[in-house]
């Protein structure tokens, strides 16, 4: 009976070891296959991202510039006012009664109302108001009141100008960027055609300062 027990125990032990080792090896192989698949997916994403970056490298700077002008990072009321003043001058109009409302913000976009009057020939007034839809920063005419003033017309315009904070973080290297759709491309072309402002940010000018009376 002892002679039978020993080989039987060996067979049973072998089967147990075999099953245990099989489980370990199978788990390792499954994990490696999953890691490989994940790595290959990452390769595809990275390759797509790299080729997308390489192909848009030259264009993206122009797009970024025109989009920053279209939707600035800070309060755009001064830029909008500058554009209105420039358009008024081009149409031989008098721009006055300028006032700027308070900032209104939501999570994505902030806006401010810029209110002004323009007076001059009716066609000049209408041309100027129409031209406001093609200026950067993006502005919407929320209200227009036109009144006849003798032979000319006066328009009181409430212009809503928008801006939005810049993104503070970029996505992870392995995150896809996403392609620009034809609609977005059309929008980009349209935004690129907006009348660009003379300035985006006001920088302090260095003046002579006060004369020191004791230095003489």
């Amino acid at each position: 009976m002892n002679a039978l027990l020993k080989p039987l125990l060996i067979v049973v032990a072998l089967i147990i070891v075999f099953v245990g080792a099989f489980n370990l090896v199978a788990a390792r192989i499954t994990s490696l296959i999953a890691e490989n698949e994940e790595a290959i997916k990452t390769t595809q994403t990275l390759q797509t991202k790299l080729s997308s970056l390489e192909s848009t490298q030259t264009q993206i700077s122009n797009y970024a510039q025109s989009l920053i002008a279209a939707l600035p990072a800070k309060n755009s009321s001064l830029i909008a006012l500058s554009q209105a003043k420039s358009l008024a001058a081009e149409n031989s109009l008098v721009l006055d009664n300028i006032s700027v409302g308070s900032e209104l913000s939501d999570a994505a976009i902030s806006h401010v109302d810029v209110i002004f009057d323009v007076t001059g020939a009716s066609q000049g007034v209408f041309s100027m108001i129409e031209a406001l839809s093609n200026v950067a920063p993006i502005s919407r005419v929320s209200k227009v009141k036109v009144t006849a003033v003798g032979a000319s017309h006066k328009a009181s315009v409430a212009l809503t100008s928008y801006w939005a904070a810049l993104p503070t973080q970029i996505s992870a290297v392995s995150d896809p960027l996403g392609d620009i759709s034809p609609q977005e491309q059309e929008l980009l072309n349209k935004l690129g055609g907006l009348r660009q402002p003379q300035f985006l940010e006001l920088t302090p000018t260095l003046g002579a300062g006060k004369i020191d009376p004791f230095s003489q």
């Binding site: 192989i29 839809s133 996505s171 960027l177």
Partner: protein, 179 residues
Amino acid sequence: MAATNINLLPVDLSAKSQAARLGSFLKKATKVLIGLFSVAGLLSGIFIVVLSLQLDSVNKKNETLRQNISALETTEQKTVLVRNRLEKIKILGDKDKAIGSVAILSGIVSSLPSGVSLTDANADLSGGLTYSFNVSDSSVLPQFLGSLMANQSFSKLGIKNFSFSPLSGYKITLEAQAK
């Protein structure tokens, strides 16, 4: 004459022989199992090594790609900025109805017959437009109103007020909704 098998061995000896056969079978099974175990282990080992090498190679390739992408960080930042601005601009939409109303009004004013003048107009964000004209000569009134009715730029057009003053003539106030 048929052959007859006669077992002259004692019963305990016969049982011992069966146990020995079973033992011998178990020993053979042990050898076969060890053989199978070794082959399976070897194949699994090769498979694991191949997979590990493949993973290592793909990871190295990914690392190179990451480095190349990092070298284009400025472009990536600008791309993120472009996407961010585009999403926000899309929220704003591109329809400025007040300006649309002003454009329609501009078209009307540019073709006004003599004796008709625009006195005031109000346009709002919803595309609503209220405008008043002064008509000094009644003979141009049908032509002027006819041209307004023929204007296809409005989805709605109605007369809000119609009055007459001997000094200034007719005053017509219209309410319209741009398409």
